[in-house]
Symmetry: C2
Subunit: 390 residues, 2 copies
């Protein structure tokens, strides 16, 4: 059996999509909403105010919970769960990017399931339902607006842990996608978001076993589209076309489409290798992925060079696999993304590489990857390469 | 506002997908199922037997209703509605191709809504719910397994009418897509199905207004994939790759993906022009589309040649719009599909063209098309061109 497709999120797309928020919430029978958001940007832009006025006009009650940070924290999730439980909240509205969405999903799981919400993220319990979640997206990156995943950082432990959970209960009910809301995203976050988008497709592309050609070709199309539109969005932040293409690329890259018909869900080693960096050092997820991908690719290339050849041809018209890796790195650098750990502003020595590798494998308790299965020693080597030490 | 995306159907994909039928139905709480199918092929292949054994083992009751024909009839739909209402049926399982699916959807609407089911198809009433439907697909063509549409022919009137209704209630709960079940599809039906798949994307591609570049590029990828895989499936009917690519192309071509971000849902004139042929003369839908598309394309070309240029470049690497139309027609002929009405085995004179054109516009009561809005006279001209009379 191959990977199927299940993406039930109702997507409204286009300029002004957020104007539908009250109407859509009414359709789900929402009466009291937790409006969840991050920092001040949704306040400064007037978006939050606009949303809350819509809710008020429609007679929908709400309570605010702001303060979500990149690599969202379980401590704020616990606050959200308390609010949902104590204030009769029946719907959670995420207004923001992937971190806000992931935090909203976690609140949904915890409020529905009771007990310690971290249990779901460290694998102790399975998610068996959720308070319904919808979103107004303000950043093209994580794909959380259609994906089944949520990644949370436990800031109550030392070292901190960053863990993800994937479940169909994480498919939000609706996503309002207005490309214009991403006009104000900074150059760095735009570029980092584009890398994240590309990686969700690349991680699925690299796997052992059967690959459906149509899915490969859709993947190449998506990657070409991100490569084409990111520089435009960086130069002209208010270019609707560029922002719209990137926004929809973000959703399709992580809603499962790019694995359909394949024999498994992909490699995902780079995500694990990067999570260790962003959990500990709070780097931007996309930038962290750009910093390690090239080293990962060179390390695993020999496993199946043909897969790299097909990728290169499909994305760059390039049939040399090493040059294909270089072309991805050149693209990352062209949008000011790092291609090594130093570029993240971190100084990694051998001990840091060793520590991070052990962190990824939960102290040698698991392997990661599917295209090539990686043990602690392999991950150590990749960190060493990405640190210029090998 | 642009076209959004809502495709909640849970798709299981791959060899043996149909083995999950009882488990999936149990998940929806089905207790008594209407097993709806067409002619003898699902009996001869043993598929029906296998499905019914699964249901019996799982303690799920069922009643059979076979006999769906291509261009499915409202008379059989009425029988199905009676069975659902009188026998306590709580789920409809379509086992077959698009006709069986469309018939199953109509039964669902009628059994839920009461009254005359044809009202939904001639626009007298809106669909407001359905008895849930799921499917095991045996033919890659109509995309009904993920689409919101159902097309039914009223065989109780003279002339007969073929009418479609689109509603989110038409999104079936689940689709079990096993490419191996299409190995036995005839060459003619395979080719006709491929044309149908291409047309669902082409109809969306041609429209006036804003087009999202990513969606255009996805459309070209899908069209290239159908063009690549159809000849392989014709030569090697049991080539898993070719059948799997075509099957997934069929679903994505008509689930709405190929219009996301665009300002409207497309042209659809060719479908209307073809429906008139297949309602009256019972030709295969895809073959009918192939027979009229080239004439439609030449007739509307001047409206916006650039749209044809982009299509030609994306699909064939061809920048001349007239040559692009010819290349589509060459492809149709290469898979033994007709490119004129004569090729359908019909002799159309001027009177027949006039009658058909008036049929399309409901006796001059409507226009069709969006890329170019067509009146009765335009449609008459297109029929004349497709008949070699102009």
């Amino acid at each position: 059996m191959s990977i199927g497709f299940y993406a039930p999120t109702n997507v409204t797309f286009g300029a002004g999509a957020e104007d539908k928020v009250a109407e859509v919430l009414k359709g789900y029978g929402a009466e009291k909403v937790l409006v969840h958001f991050g920092g001040g940007s949704v306040k400064r832009s007037g978006l939050l105010d606009k949303v809350e006025k819509s809710l008020t006009s429609a007679g929908i009650g709400f309570i605010e919970l702001g303060g979500v940070v990149p690599n969202p924290r379980v401590s704020l999730v616990r606050k959200g769960i308390e609010l949902v439980n104590n204030e009769g909240i029946d719907f959670i509205l995420a207004v923001g990017g992937g971190s806000v969405l992931d935090s909203a999903k976690a609140i949904g799981y915890g409020a529905y399931g009771g007990g310690d919400v971290w249990d779901f993220y460290c694998g102790k319990r399975k998610v068996e339902g959720t308070v319904p979640v919808g979103c107004i997206l303000t950043l093209s990156a994580t794909g959380s607006e259609m994906s089944d995943s949520s990644v949370i950082t436990n800031d109550e432990t030392d070292p901190v842990y960053k863990r993800g959970v994937s479940t169909d209960f994480g498919r939000v009910k609706f996503s309002l996608l207005d490309p214009e809301l991403t006009y104000t995203v900074s150059k760095y976050q735009t570029a980092s978001g584009s890398v994240d988008i590309m990686m969700h497709t690349l991680e699925r592309y690299f796997h052992q076993g059967y690959a459906l050609d149509f899915t490969d070709e859709l993947s190449f199309t998506l990657l070409r589209e991100v490569i084409k539109n990111t520089p435009i969005a960086l130069e002209h932040p208010d270019d609707y076309d560029a922002r719209a293409n990137l926004m929809w690329c973000g959703s399709l890259s992580h809603n499962g489409l790019m694995a359909v018909g394949n024999s498994n869900k992909g490699d995902w080693a780079c995500h694990q290798i990067e999570h260790e960096l962003s959990a500990e050092y709070d780097v931007a997820h996309g930038a962290g992925l750009a910093a390690v991908w090239g080293s990962w690719a060179r390390y695993v290339l020999d496993t199946d060079p043909d897969r790299f050849v097909k990728l290169g041809k499909g994305v760059f018209g390039e049939s040399d696999p090493v040059k294909t890796i270089e072309k991805f790195e050149e693209f990352f650098r062209s949008i000011d993304m790092p291609t090594d750990i130093k570029g993240l502003g971190l100084e990694f020595d051998e001990a840091a590489c060793r520590k991070a590798a052990l962190g990824v494998t939960f102290q040698d308790a698991r392997t990661i990857g599917n295209f090539k299965v990686l043990k602690t020693e392999d991950i150590f080597n990749i960190y060493m390469m990405a640190s210029g030490l090998k």
